[in-house]
């Protein structure tokens, strides 16, 4: 697999007693959108944070773009970006100021043109001069997405990016993400509790349960594998049977 953008092997993360990620191995190929699914506390965010170099693993190896993450952290981060419903851009700055600063952090060339293009793409060009703190949560999510695409990332990590969007905007954002992925071949790792999101956006899903991958494949494969009709049903079965498994052991 020489087109693997992300190679994770036997990743484990313990936080003083809690095992957040037990033993996880997976690859992500160039241009793929991979969904990390799982119940609350399954280890999705922890995995993403390790991939971003924010948290160091207890053991295992992480290679991004074929390079060891710990040793080439800055170089790798230059080619990645991240967006989450749980982080924000400083609220007392204007949208364009925030984007200007973020662009500076990544050394984006021709920044102002890039900013305008992204703002139009997400249909928020009219918010450019608004103070970020005054935006609705859906609007600020879209600003966060603009920030996440400023540096033309090759790998984009999205932790519940659609968590605060209304169905209409969520739908638009999903379509946009797919479009961007098709046109620019961006690789994405995506977490969401919205199974429709996942079915529509992800090429492949990894089901995490208590820090282990217990199912893997295209959304359709996983649905068939569990003899269900929707990913949501699979999710519920996995979450509950996982608990059953644990009780019997």
């Amino acid at each position: 697999m020489n087109d693997a953008i992300v190679q994770v092997e036997h990743l484990r993360k313990e936080f003083s007693g809690t095992v957040a990620v037990a033993d996880v191995s997976f690859n992500v190929r160039k241009g793929e959108i991979v969904g990390l699914l799982g119940a609350n506390g399954a280890g999705k965010t922890t995995t993403i944070q390790i991939l971003l170099g924010l948290t160091t693993p207890t053991s295992g190896s992480v290679r991004v773009f074929g390079k060891d993450l710990e040793r080439h952290r800055c170089e790798i981060l230059q080619r990645c970006n991240f967006c989450s419903a749980y982080t924000a851009l400083p609220s007392n700055l204007k949208v364009r100021e925030n984007l200007r600063v973020s662009g500076g952090l990544y050394g984006v060339p021709d920044l102002f043109r890039k900013m305008d293009a992204l703002l139009s793409l997400f249909e928020i060009a009219h918010l450019k001069n608004k103070v970020t703190g005054q935006l609705s949560s859906g609007e600020s999510t879209r600003v966060n997405l603009c920030k996440a695409l400023l540096n033309d990332p090759e790998l984009l990590m999205l932790d519940e990016p659609t968590a605060s969007l209304d169905p209409n905007i969520a739908d638009k954002v999903r379509k946009l993400l797919r479009k961007i992925q098709r046109e620019q071949g961006i690789t994405m790792i995506y977490t969401s509790h919205n199974m429709r999101d996942v079915e529509e956006v992800c090429d492949r899903v990894l089901f995490l349960h208590k820090g282990l991958i217990i199912a893997e494949g295209t959304p359709q494969e996983v649905i068939t594998q569990f003899n269900h009709k929707t990913l949501e049903e699979v999710f519920i079965t996995v979450a509950r049977s996982g608990d059953l498994l644990e009780e019997t052991t």
Binding site: K13, F15, S16, A20, T45, T46, Q49, L52, G53, L54, T55, T56, R73, C74, E75, L77, Q78, C80, N81, F82, S84, Y86, T87, A88, L89, P90, S91, N92, L93, E97, R100, V101, S102, G103, G104, L105, Y106, G107, K147
Partner: protein, 266 residues
């Protein structure tokens, strides 16, 4: 080191500081209040001391107050910049960008320098206007004193930031408290020999002590003591390196414990 990233961070803090009322009051309002209180205290002391009061008591106290503010604001510049990011839930956006830890720290240094330049300029002007105290009577020795207080402020700032990174919001009060733990023994408002004998060697390990002693010497007209300045610079060099190592260590601890992510989203 990328100048472009440092510039972006400094730009961010400049935006933040000019937009935030508490930050602006920290630069202008609180130092002004300090100046008024100390100014009138010294006026009063002079009055009750009558003719027997040495004329330079006045200068000692006001000079010490302004110098203390340099140290305090330099430390705050570093620590509050970090806290701003925590409060804004923006820390993750900074640390998922290819920002090196050295660039981050350097940006907070630069912000600290800007802040105190503004504060000191204002204090110096007002002290002259209100109490005809001219801080420039310290002459050229003003520069090395200023530099030493700035360096010590940076070192303290890095230590407090590290503690906040490790212990989170619970340690936030340290941002304002740490300098005051040092104040009583740093011979800020009184000479070193007022302190108990056994405290004096400890006081001499603090760079600021040498600055405040040196300042009083200059105001007494005894000129700059090269020994005080050398001691202050040497101690600062040690503390800065130690503080940087401590910061690096706490950053690694924070990454191990997943604290950067927690601080950035809670």
């Amino acid at each position: 080191m990328s100048w472009c990233r440092i510039q972006a961070l400094v730009l961010r803090y400049t935006y933040l500081y000019t937009r935030s009322v508490p930050r602006v009051t920290e630069i202008f309002f609180w130092p002004l209040m300090d100046l008024l209180v100390w100014g009138y205290v010294t006026l009063y002391l002079q009055r009750i001391g009558g003719v027997s009061a040495p004329a330079n008591v006045f200068m000692f106290l006001l000079g010490a107050m302004i110098f203390w503010d340099i140290l305090y604001r330099a430390q705050q510049g570093v620590t509050l910049s970090f806290l701003e990011d925590v409060w804004a839930r923006n820390l993750l956006n900074v640390f998922v960008a290819p920002v090196r830890i050295g660039e981050f720290v350097l940006a907070t240094y630069i912000v600290g320098l800007f802040r105190i330049t503004i504060t000191v300029a204002m204090l110096a002007g007002l002290a002259y206007a209100l109490y005809s105290f001219n801080i420039f009577s310290l002459g050229m020795s003003l520069l090395p004193f200023f530099a030493n207080l700035l360096l010590m402020g940076w070192a303290l700032g890095m230590v407090t930031t590290s503690l906040i990174m490790r212990w989170g919001q619970a340690a936030e009060a340290l941002a304002w408290g740490v300098p005051f733990l040092i104040q009583p023994i740093a011979a800020v408002f009184y000479p070193l020999d007022v302190l108990p004998r056994w405290v004096q060697p400890i006081a001499l390990c603090i760079p600021a002590t040498h600055v405040f002693e040196g300042m009083r010497q200059v105001l007494r007209g005894e000129g700059v003591s090269a020994a005080s300045l050398t001691a202050a610079f040497a101690l600062n060099a040690i503390y800065l390196v130690a503080a940087a190592l401590f910061f690096r260590y706490m950053f690694d601890v924070a990454r191990r414990k997943g604290l950067l992510a927690k601080l950035g989203t809670q």
